[in-house]
């Protein structure tokens, strides 16, 4: 009797979850695949083949791999550096640092790029005052593959940071102590113990960063087009900008190429990770912590400098450009105006709608994904290594392919009423919501999986022997232990989704605009000042929401709110 019900619970859970994964991840991918494979009858002229024959595809592929690879490296260095310092050391104002490090994700990368171009360009106010500004029109080092990689790296560093942090806060102290006693210097401790012990999380973070970089359009569009440097997402956009009628199949084919890359990359990652997987034993020990000693001040200065570059400078640029009357007008006491804010607030309709829509979509997606990924990750961990690797990689694909292509897949799938239930989702917020779920599932799942893989199985076994059913164990034991990872996943989703542009751009319709779409449309139609004003409002709003979350912290397990320590 008991057996049956608990087995049923399991079966029910598995079937629902895998059904969901299929619906969310596999369906759009399959639809794109069928689109890519269309027109086979045309032989060598078939879209997929003509794409594969085009040398520009391969150049873009190479470029994509280079920029994403380098970008990932930068993200890992930056993100893990911050995670290590902010989680494991006795640095002061830790909460503030963490809080600030989350925010660069909220600033559109184009803004960061532009602010840097201005900061180090001919018109730079700072460099001009110092008299070392480059001549008008002199070449900009940012317009290059490395420039793209740098920006990608910065943009995605918080992904690595959050994925890693949730792991580091349960790093058992005694393992570190044992190494200290062996005489390992601080440096060796990092290299030999902390990095390998948090390797799963670093891999997970690197994987999200890589996949994000691979699918990113905004940064290569900003910095790559002027340099004549194309990557797969910009190539896809090129394809769309034509007037041809094979657009969809070509775009789908290119996306399948990205999907293919991701699958290979993820399988590789899983393979490396599984060959050396281990779980921690015990967990009862205190978490580790280091003293910085005389390095405290220099470290703080370094952090401050980095934050200035990636947060303060772009944010300042954004603020300045939101309070001038027109582009290019220098900010003085005379020119200062709140007109843009006025306009946005008075033009309430779409602004308020966009805010509500985006906040609603982002928080619901984050919440639902947090709820889904826990049992999903838990079930995945129980599959055979191979099955797990394949499923986990498939989940990755929707996030990796550029959002606009995912949106195409959703249009193709949902523009007609859904058979049987006869409901049209197209043109509703629900469809954008579904697309978000599909897109961000992997973002949320990664940290959860890495946390699960390090859990001591005995902790769950102890609950099992107490008679707890899988669901009870999941809620009472597994969830509290990995809640920092779950919440980190949710937070990542929220931060990415609240500004999300490309998916919603194609799926929106009147009344369903999102913040990303609103800002982009304003920007594109030349109303950059209004766009800046909204961007500033978004940053302020999200920051205050995050601050509000701190109020919840005392009721949540330790480590759940990253900036509350």
């Amino acid at each position: 009797m008991l057996t049956a019900s608990s087995d049923n619970q399991l079966r029910w859970l598995s079937i629902t979850l895998f059904g969901l994964v299929v619906a969310l991840s596999l369906l759009p991918c399959l639809r794109l695949l069928s689109e890519a494979l269309s027109h086979w009858d045309r032989g060598l002229d078939a879209p997929l083949l003509s794409i594969l024959q085009n040398p520009r595809t391969w150049v873009a592929l190479q470029n994509s791999l280079y920029t994403s690879g380098l970008g990932t490296l930068i993200s890992v260095v930056l993100g893990s550096g911050f995670a290590f310092v902010l989680t494991l050391t006795n640095i002061r104002y830790r909460a503030l640092w963490i809080f600030c490090f989350m925010l660069p994700m909220m600033i559109p990368p184009q803004v960061t790029a532009l602010s840097w171009l201005q900061l180090f360009g001919p018109a730079s106010p700072i460099l001009n005052t110092l008299g070392i500004a480059p001549a008008l029109g002199s070449p900009q080092p940012m317009y290059s593959a490395e420039g793209i990689a740098l920006l990608l790296g910065i943009q995605h560093a918080p992904l690595v940071f959050l994925a890693l942090r949730s792991q580091l806060i349960c790093l058992p102290k005694d393992l570190i102590e044992a190494a200290q006693l062996s005489g390992a210097s601080q440096w060796r401790l990092w290299i030999d113990m902390i990095v390998p012990l948090s390797r799963n999380a670093i891999f997970a973070g690197a994987a999200i960063a890589f996949v994000s970089a691979l699918g990113n359009f905004g940064i290569p569009a900003m910095l790559g087009i002027p340099a004549g440097y194309s990557v797969l997402p910009t190539l896809i956009y090129q394809q769309m900008a034509g007037f041809g009628n094979d657009v969809l199949s070509e775009v789908a084919s290119l996306s399948m190429l990205i999907a293919f890359l991701v699958l290979i990359g993820m399988l590789l990652q899983q393979w490396i990770q599984q060959r050396s997987s281990y779980s921690l034993i015990g967990h009862s020990a205190q978490p580790a912590s280091f003293r910085l000693g005389k390095w405290r001040i220099p470290t703080q200065i370094l952090l401050c400098a980095v934050l200035c570059l990636i947060l303060i400078a772009p944010l300042a640029a954004l603020m300045i450009s939101s309070v001038v009357p027109a582009l290019g007008v220098p900010l003085t006491a005379d020119t200062f105006t709140f007109a843009a804010y006025n306009e946005m607030v008075n033009n309430q309709g779409s602004t308020a709608r966009a805010f509500t829509n985006s906040l609603l979509l982002a928080s619901l997606a984050a919440l639902l994904l947090m709820i889904i990924t826990l049992p999903l990750g838990y079930r995945l961990m129980r599959l055979s290594l191979k099955a797990r690797a394949v499923i986990a990689s498939l989940i990755e694909v929707p996030y990796a392919i550029p959002g606009i292509v995912l949106a195409i897949a959703f249009i193709l799938l949902f523009s007609r009423p859904i058979p049987i239930i006869n409901v049209t989702l197209y043109g509703t917020l629900t469809l954008i919501f579904l697309a978000y779920l599909s897109c961000f599932l992997s973002v949320c799942l990664k940290p959860v999986m890495s946390a699960l893989s390090q859990l001591d199985p005995a902790l769950e076994e102890a609950a099992q022997i107490a008679g707890a059913t899988p669901i009870q164990r999941l809620i009472n034991i597994v969830l509290p232990l990995i809640s920092p990872a779950v919440f980190a996943g949710g937070l990542l989703v929220f931060l990415i989704a609240v500004n999300e542009l490309t998916v919603s751009a194609l799926l929106w319709s009147a009344g369903n605009e999102t913040l990303g779409v609103l800002i982009f449309n304003l920007d594109e139609s030349g109303d950059s000042i209004l766009a800046s004003a909204i961007s500033v409002l978004v940053v302020v709003l999200v920051a205050s929401l995050m601050a509000l979350l701190s109020l919840l912290a005392p009721r949540l397990p330790k480590g759940v709110i990253p900036w509350h320590c």
């Binding site: 015990g282 009862s284 001591d456 102890a462 099992q464 107490a466």
Partner: protein, 349 residues
């Protein structure tokens, strides 16, 4: 209350056998110890009983119910057993009290009973003042006691204990042993107790299974294990003593008691038979005397808290272990009588 049987159990990890051809039949309400050296497969056996490891072959029955075999596997949560883990496996996110309360919560025990049971369990392991601490703030032994309390609190039908007292001092250990005894008497639960400590096994269990390299060496009561061990290795593992080599005869054969006179006959001979039967002599059957018995030379004398271990060299150049209350000078010659011996099977491995 039902019989717990293990039939021809095998378990291998990556092709290496951890448990081989194990047969045990544990009476309902029995107190059974699994004893053996480190790495012999005790924990693995226990984990198969609990259901955390599947059997590679063989089957486990509880009464008429098949718990595990090649095709069936009842999940641990459906076996209704209790267990203490060797690594404690305390939930770090719960306080001591919550750790202990969890199994009761799962069983939906009502509030009042729950409170009562928790208090009792805390009292048993003497951790009342620590109820609100988190496991990370406890000493090693305190953690072990929490794990113990957690396993007893629901009073399951079968309790599996994996070295539950390894980190406790002799005193607390005695108290806990007493707790186990009374608990066992009161609830009539079947208890399977893994330990590496023969004296613990001896004083607690009705029946002891001694394992070595995954194989069952002997399955017997404590007294017969001590007095009539099957092999020399077992004799040595279970208690102290010396083994002498004797000429086989009708009376000197594996599995037989050997009389004083026969032993003395052998020991006064100036040489040891190169082949023969091994006979175990426990130090308690060796009496030292200033003038009576076989002459023996003291080769070592070590203080062991309360008595001295005396190693004696005999005319046959065999050695004997004896106990003595006062120190003896190394090199001193005195006389020994051996009251009885036990002939052993040869070891196979």
């Amino acid at each position: 209350m039902a019989l717990l049987t293990l039939n021809q159990i095998n378990k291998s990890f990556n092709g290496q056998n951890a448990v081989s051809d194990l047969n045990l039949s544990i009476e309902p309400g029995a107190f059974v110890a699994l004893l053996g050296p480190s790495g012999c497969g005790k924990s693995t056996t226990l984990r198969m009983l609990a259901g955390f490891e599947k059997v590679s072959s063989g089957s486990i029955f509880h009464g008429g119910r098949c718990l595990s075999n090649a095709t069936t596997h009842v999940a641990p949560e459906n076996r209704d057993f209790g267990m203490v883990f060797q690594s404690y496996a305390l939930w770090p996110h719960m306080s001591v009290m919550e750790n202990i309360a969890y199994p009761l919560t799962i069983k939906r025990v009502d509030r009042a009973t729950k409170q009562k049971r928790i208090q009792e369990a805390l009292a048993i392991v003497q951790l009342e003042p620590y109820a609100d601490r988190s496991p990370a703030e406890l000493s090693g032994g305190q953690r072990q006691r929490v794990a113990l309390a957690r396993s007893l609190v629901t009073e399951p039908e079968v309790i599996l204990l994996d070295e539950p007292l390894a980190n406790l001092d002799r005193h607390l250990r005695a108290t806990m042993e007493e707790t186990f005894r009374t608990f066992h008497k009161r609830t009539g639960a079947t208890m399977v107790y893994v330990t590496h400590d023969q004296s613990e096994a001896m004083s607690l269990a009705d029946q002891i299974a001694v394992l070595k390299n995954g194989q069952l060496i002997q399955w017997a009561s404590p007294q017969s294990l001590y007095q009539q061990p099957r092999t020399a290795w077992l004799a040595d593992f279970i208690g102290r003593g010396s083994v002498i080599r004797m000429q086989p005869s009708d009376e000197v054969q594996p599995g037989r008691k050997v009389e004083q006179s026969l032993i003395h006959q052998q020991l006064v001979l100036p040489h040891t038979p190169s082949q023969g039967v091994d006979v175990l002599i426990r130090p308690q059957s060796v009496c030292l005397h200033p003038s009576l018995g076989i002459s023996a030379k003291v080769t070592q004398c070590i203080y062991r808290g309360g008595h001295f271990d005396v190693e004696l060299s005999l005319p046959s150049s065999q050695t004997l272990l004896a106990y003595h209350d006062t120190p003896l000078a190394v090199g001193e010659t005195l006389f020994a009588t051996v009251q009885e011996g036990w002939s052993l099977e040869p070891d196979h491995d």
